[in-house]
Amino acid sequence: MIKAILIFNNHGKPRLSKFYEHYTEDTEQQIIRETFHLVSKRDENVCNFLEGGMLIGGSDYKLIYRHYATLYFVFCVDSSESELGILDLIQVFVETLDKCFENVCELDLIFHVDKVHNILAEMVMGGMVLETNMNEIITQVDAQNKMEKSEVNQDLTYSLFYLPV
């Protein structure tokens, strides 16, 4: 099971946080801070796995992270997940984001939090890996975006219709 997915930048500012297990608001913030603290002090040439701190759940839990330019992507998982498998899942996630946003950068994540969440939801559902195939994820997301566009147009006619009144 994946317990949490966190994205934060080099300064520890959260860009996305998704918890698949219930923690209180304070604990969530503490987890983000602590995770950033653990991850940020690691060099580039060390392994991508970390034993989870006590906050997240002790010896059974692991932090698996990747660092891309200004962002850290951290997955917190329990022992039922394969370490290298998750590492590649992060890669799939980032590649998908890259495709959806066309050269994704930190700002995309900031301004389209909801979109990022929707992409993530097609990949991980309730803490379980749902889909690992990038094309499939994009197909699903596109289907929803199409709907969005058609609705935007609908919406416009709707408001124009009422504008004179």
Partner: protein, 1121 residues
């Protein structure tokens, strides 16, 4: 930070223009969020950020509550609220609006609404109930996207009680034509299974259908469920092994569509999942393992491409190969793979290689030898995680010879580690190793000193606890004990003389206890000197009041002689007016006992540790006091639950039905059961106070009575005390004597050095030889299935082996001093046969089988055994000789009772473990049989059992440490339930050593159905009525009625009564009430009503989860009928 701000600011306009689609609403919404973000990035302090966000939240709050806000604007506001929540600012006012948005909006608004709900709320949030209808509606929608959204939110969080409402709809989705829906439905059902297993019991067949789904995606999703199910019960799914193997074969063979390839590896995640399932299925099962050998070989062969993900598959393959029944060719390949991992320059692979090594090293210690130089390099690796993993590996291969080097490495790491979690974990490991393998006293005490100073106050309370226990119980020779204690005293005195203010509290407590107890051993140490040293601790600023009371206790033991008494007097004066009542109590004790040395001798006898202390748990010594109080008109004592009931009755309308009830009082009991010295001292201190308070200003004698009890319990630490022993199964193994160490050293020096590679430095090799000494020889588990032809690098002297086994024979072990259950039984049967003058007839098979299994060790007792009446009693199943023999070893107090079938737990070449249980009224008695099938005795045996749900206490007087060849040792536990669960599991580990061999461990788990803990609860209908009101945990469900010609309700209840040992209280018409209890004293009440052809049951209990679990077993019982 400034560069980020700059980047953000410069990027903003372009981003906005890019995003500006037709429609001004879109633009303005983005710019609002844009403004917020721009605002935040411009800030310099946390305080300013807080102010800005609060302003933002107020503005959002105004807008969401305004009636003019359109759904579109609402959507935009939600995104802003999500952003604020992500930064850690609560926006609880928006929760209800998020639900509304999900309810009323168009598909697009819904999406944001659902997203916000899933980010804001959790499954126990009350607002979630408002979402149930929306989810119901969306699940029935014809719009695929709406169905998907509903399924996603359901699998993220859904209130447990509401699952039945949507379950049929989700089940229907398993037949949906679209694969994505089927897939999400499977995962949603899996989530239901995780939070409420009994609710989805009936759809296990549908899971099978999902496994056979024509779409590989749906099949992949169903594997999540199977992995979990098989983890819980691998026996039930063995029939699927062939299917999983076929699927894996097809995947590996590239039969899946190209879409599933990732970097041209076919469906790697699917392969990983399948390999994990296979390893669970093949564990301890030869025939199942055989089915998968071929495909594992194929996987290993195919996964040769040089991409990260193939290593993930390889790693799982290797783990699987080492988990299932071994096959030599595969093992060789797997070992090569591990080698590649460990030697890889890629750090992630090295990490996994170390992990794999740690996993396999117990079965195959030679593998660690092969890679010893790499391991040594990893010890100096700059990455702490790698270092930490290496230490974990070393921890597994520690033995008596390399312990000093390994512990030194661990302590080195501890000194640089800043992480609390690692510190706690590692400190525990060092303490464990030090206790197990300490070569001599000085090393042991010094290591423990470092452990205590580094571990500080974070470490597990067990560590100081078991250290003190070890010190006070001592080992085989009094002289050794004395030396050890003396050394501890000397070392602590010098510590106190140097810098006591740097020592952590726990360490100070240990020091004061040891000084109080043993400083008299040192001839040149005056009590007064120690008193003065201790009194300095009281003056230190950071000393906690708990530590102070330990110090005062130690002083009480010490105050002897003029100077000491005057010190005591001073201390009394400063602390007799302390605000802390416990401290005041201690000061009083100190004062009284320092004045009266004769009394002190009685209350605090020296070497009290040697005398067994009787604990009167019924507190019968207070009877006189109680009756006096009752005579004086005091109200009789009522247990808390009774008080609770009366309170409930007294209030006509109980407005707080869920207030304090039974579980709380129970949990407080269980805390007191497993005591650390600190807890103990606190609780005893409190009890001392309470007696004091209860008879204000009572006479001195009465007061001292209280004091005595306190000390009696405090002495408990020092005692071989039955209750304590049961709580802690782990037994410290005897320390090795210095002479043995010398022996070991000489062996070490004689070990031939491993193959020399010229460029390796001398010291690394030296380190290697000291780390891996004693590993290669005598791995009793020979996985290769053939005697090992590879030359052993480290050959031990034959003499060394003989001497070590000789040493353990020479010293009287606990087996010799206190009769083990086996001996006990034989003694008893001897008595029995004397009593029974006419020996009953013995069937030939039985005696024969007994002889063969018990072997020559008991030869002298054979005639006795042949007359053994208890054997005849058990002789109902002559076709099960092994079972029969084991059952003859049942502890005498259980031999008359009927026991469950003896089930094998695990076995290896030298030991067979099996277990059975006997249901007694107040507990379940679990008996574990350890049968030594090897030709030599098992030594230093330790059986550790543990369970998250159960409380196990050892009944056997002293734990068995040695089992002779071909004989049986018995461990007898009394088990009660801590936390109910459908199946409860006992996890155990047996560690032992064959003479001259390396320590071995073997692990097992034993599942017990909850039904074995259920007993009838006899009560009257009135009692039932009042209890019913008091219980807070409840569950309702419909069960199938058993319909035969008689009254269906009575028949059904009788079936339940028979199968689950329930007590039927009363049946009136179509209703019946039933009661039972979970041992010990955890009642559960059941109300049944026949309604529309089904049995509507309503269960209530004060114990969480008990109703659910019982319901599950009722369902099962009725299904099986």
């Amino acid at each position: 930070m400034s560069d980020v701000v700059e980047k953000t600011l410069t990027a903003l306009p372009s981003l906005l223009s890019l995003d500006s689609q037709p429609g001004s609403a879109k633009l303005s919404s983005t710019s609002k969020l844009g403004n917020l973000i721009r605002g935040i990035t411009e800030l310099t302090s946390k305080h300013e950020e807080e102010k800005l966000i609060q302003r933002e939240l107020t503005s959002i709050k105004d807008q969401v509550s305004s009636p003019n806000t359109s759904m579109r604007q609402m959507k935009e506001l939600m995104v802003r609220a999500i952003y604020c929540e992500m930064l850690g600012y609560e926006a609880s006012f928006s929760y209800i609006h998020a639900i509304k948005l999900a309810q009323q909006g168009s598909v697009l608004d819904k999406r944001v609404g659902y997203l916000a709900v899933s980010l804001f709320l959790n499954e126990s949030h009350e607002l979630l109930l408002l979402l149930v209808n929306t989810v119901l509606k969306d699940l029935q929608s014809t719009n695929l996207i709406e169905v998907c959204m509903a399924l996603t939110v359901v699998s993220q969080m859904f209130p447990k009680d509401m699952i039945p409402a949507i379950l049929p709809l989700v089940e229907d989705k398993l037949n949906h034509p679209k694969e994505i829906i089927r897939r999400k439905a499977v995962l949603a059902l899996y989530k239901f299974y995780l939070i409420a297993p009994n609710q989805v019991q009936h759809i296990h067949n549908k899971f099978r259908k999902a496994l056979c789904d024509k779409d590989p995606g749906v099949m992949t999703a169903s594997l999540h469920i199977y992995l979990q199910l098989i983890k819980e019960n691998s026996e039930g799914y063995k029939d699927l092994t062939a299917s999983f193997v076929t699927i894996l074969k097809q995947v590996v063979g590239g039969k899946l569509p190209m879409d599933f390839n990732y970097h041209s590896v076919p469906a790697p995640w699917l392969q990983i999942q399948l390999l994990r399932i296979l390893s669970l299925l093949g564990k301890n099962d030869q025939s199942t393992s055989e089915i998968m050998y071929e495909v594992l070989d194929e996987s290993l062969r195919r996964a040769e491409m040089n991409h990260n993900i193939t290593y993930a598959i390889l790693y799982e393959c290797v783990k699987c190969i080492y988990t299932i029944q071994p096959k030599s060719e595969l093992l060789e390949k797997a070992a090569k793979c591990i080698g590649n991992f460990v030697l890889s320059p890629k750090i992630n692979l090295k990490y996994l290689g170390l992990k794999a090594l740690t996993y396999v090293v117990q079965q195959d210690p030679k593998l660690a030898l092969q890679h010893q130089m790499t391991i040594i390099e990893c010890l100096d690796h700059p990455d702490l995680i790698i270092k930490r993993e290496t230490l974990e590996l070393l921890f597994r291969i520690t033995n008596g010879q390399n312990v000093t080097v390994i512990v030194e490495k661990m302590l080195d790491f501890l000194r640089i580690s800043k992480d609390d979690y690692t510190t706690i974990d590692l400190v525990g490991k060092v303490a464990e190793l030090a206790e197990k393998y300490a070569p001599d006293n000085e090393w042991f005490i010094e290591t423990m000193n470092t452990v205590f100073s580094l571990g500080g106050d974070m470490m597990q309370p067990d560590i100081p606890n078991s250290f003190l226990k070890l010190l006070s119980e001592g080992f085989d020779s009094d002289e050794e004990d004395r030396k050890l204690r003396l050394f501890a005293v000397d070392s602590y005195v010098s510590l106190l003389q140097s810098e006591p203010n740097k020592l952590p509290q726990r360490f100070l407590q240990v020091i004061s206890w040891v000084l109080g107890e043993y400083s008299h051993l040192s001839a040149e140490l005056e009590p007064a000197t120690v008193m003065t040293l201790l009194s300095k601790l009281l003056d230190l600023k950071h000393t906690s009041s708990e530590t102070k009371s330990w110090v005062l206790m130690a002083m009480t033991k010490l105050c002897e002689g003029g100077v000491a008494i005057s010190v005591a007097q001073d201390i009394y004066e400063t602390h007799s007016s302390s605000m802390d009542t416990v401290l005041r109590q201690r000061a009083q004790e100190l004062q009284h006992l320092s004045q009266d040395s004769e009394l002190r001798g009685r209350v605090l006898p020296r070497d009290a540790g040697l005398m067994p202390l009787e604990v009167d748990s019924s507190l019968s010594f207070l009877d006189g006091f109680v009756s006096e109080a009752l005579a004086a008109g005091a109200a009789p004592y009522k247990p808390p639950h009774q008080r609770q009931e009366e309170l409930a009755q007294a209030k006509a309308l109980s407005l707080e039905p869920y207030s304090l009830s039974l579980p709380i009082s129970m949990s407080s009991c269980s805390i007191a059961d497993r005591q650390s010295p600190t807890l103990m001292s606190m609780s005893s201190g409190l009890s001392g106070d309470s007696t004091d308070l209860s008879h204000k200003g009572g006479s001195t004698t009465l007061k001292l009575d209280g004091v005595k009890r306190v000390w009696g319990r405090e002495g408990y630490l020092a005692q071989r005390e039955p209750v304590e022993e049961t709580a802690q199964v782990e037994v410290p193994s005897p320390l090795r004597s210095p002479s043995q160490q010398a022996e070991a050293d000489s062996t070490q020096s004689q070990t031939p050095t491993p193959t020399v590679t010229p460029e390796l430095e001398q010291d690394k090799q030296q380190l290697a030889s000291s780390l891996f000494v004693g590993l290669g020889s005598q791995s009793s588990v020979c996985l290769m299935g053939k005697s090992d032809p590879t030359p052993q690098r480290f050959r031990r002297k034959a003499q060394g082996r003989a001497s070590s086994s000789g040493a353990s024979e020479k010293t009287p072990t606990s087996l010799g001093s206190t009769p083990s259950p086996v001996d006990n039984l034989l003694c008893n049967s001897l008595l029995d046969s004397n009593l029974v003058s006419e020996p009953t007839n013995q069937t030939p098979q039985a005696s024969q089988s007994l002889d063969t299994t018990n072997g020559n060790c008991h030869e002298e007792l054979t005639d006795v055994k042949e007359n053994n009446p208890s054997l005849i009693h058990n002789n109902e199943e002559p076709d099960k000789p092994k079972d029969l023999c084991l059952s003859s070893h049942l502890p005498t107090e259980l031999s008359g009772l009927s026991h469950s079938e003896i089930t094998p737990l695990c076995s290896n070449q030298s030991v067979n473990l099996s277990a059975c249980h006997v249901q007694k009224e107040d507990s379940l008695q679990l008996v574990i049989f350890i049968f030594n099938s090897s030709d030599s005795a098992l030594q230093q045996m330790q059986l550790q059992v543990d369970s998250g749900e159960l409380k196990l206490s050892l009944i056997t007087d002293s734990p068995v440490e040695e089992v002779r060849s071909h004989s049986v040792a018995v461990c007898h536990y009394s088990v009660t339930v801590k936390r109910p669960s459908v199946h409860v599991e006992v996890l155990g580990m047996l560690s032992y050593q064959l003479p001259g061999g390396t320590p071995q461990t073997i692990q097992f788990s034993h599942k017990l159905p909850l039904t074995t803990f259920i007993r009838p609860l006899t009560l009257s209908t009135e009692e039932y009525g009042s209890m019913w009101l008091a219980f807070s945990q409840d569950t309702k469900q419909n069960l199938t009625l058993i319909n035969d010609d008689q009254d269906p309700l009575t028949t059904t209840l009788n079936v339940l009564k028979k199968k689950l040992q329930l007590h039927v209280v009363e049946i009136i018409g179509v209703e019946g009430i039933v009661a039972c209890q979970l041992v010990q004293d955890q009642p559960c009440l059941m109300h049944c009503r026949v309604h529309a052809g089904t049995l509507a049951v309503w269960l209530r209990s004060p114990v969480p989860d008990l109703p659910d679990c019982l319901l599950y077993h009722c369902q099962r019982a009725l299904q099986e009928h």
